[in-house]
């Protein structure tokens, strides 16, 4: 992935929060993590990428942020299942939207969601992953892009 590809996913992240929530998210400066380093928060939604590009994209966020997102949408059922659902939907939407630029060969899986420490063992990761920090209201989340 090059800088332009990362920018597609940054734009997608900004677009997601702008279009579906009441307050725009700020995106921090992306940074690289090497080898087997992984970052994660309370809930994580992973999308497997196959086709011409291979790897994974995941969105990870604290439960307080996901609760706030659910409340913003008027959801009354605010529990672990719904927080996992939201984290998967955010990962799915940002990855799916990227096909506008990357094309249909950017094949995305259905999201796999984790509460707590994710089991990344069955996902393919590149040697280097880009972390895109996301700040929405007082919360901090991240989109991690690890594609060959």
């Amino acid at each position: 992935m090059d800088e332009q590809d990362i920018q597609v996913l940054i734009d997608g992240t900004v677009h997601y929060f702008h279009r579906s929530l009441d307050k725009t998210a700020a995106v921090g400066t992306p940074y690289l993590i090497e080898d087997k380093q992984r970052i994660s928060s309370d809930y994580t939604g992973v999308i497997g990428i196959s086709g011409v590009r291979k790897g994974s994209v995941y969105f990870t966020a604290p439960s307080a942020m996901l609760r706030h997102i659910l409340m913003t949408h008027g959801e009354s059922q605010i529990d672990s299942d719904f927080m996992a659902d939201v984290v998967g939907e955010v990962a799915n939407t940002i990855s799916g939207n990227a096909r506008r630029v990357f094309g249909q060969e950017f094949t995305i899986s259905v999201p796999t969601v984790f509460a707590g420490t994710p089991d990344f063992s069955r996902f393919r990761f590149s040697d280097r992953s880009f972390v895109i920090p996301i700040h929405w209201r007082q919360y901090h989340a991240a989109l991690v892009v690890s594609i060959d």
Partner: protein
Amino acid sequence: MKLLVVDDSHFIRNRISRAVAVHRIDSVITAPNGMEALRLFQKESPDLVTMDITMPGLDGIACTSAMVRLNPKVLILVVSAVADKATAIRALKQGANGFLLKPFSDDEINDSLTELLRGAGHG
């Protein structure tokens, strides 16, 4: 009129069900996957369907095709994050009547459903 909302995300099913404020729609039912959607489709005969694409098992495009074969008059709005043109064209070729890209606002889902009904002469 009856609306069937098909999406593997419970959060999205609830969002669409809550947001729908098209006065002709008086009943909303939901399905979490393509197979359950087809079962409900045959049992409940909805007039309108919102259809996700990326779902486990039977995906939204195959499900759209099956529904149109069962009832060619059904109106199907694909609501998906998958943003490439080829996928939208494929959905329309299988019989979908419209395409709304996620993320969407409540106004956008209502506008899209209203437009679909108007286009089918229900306006």
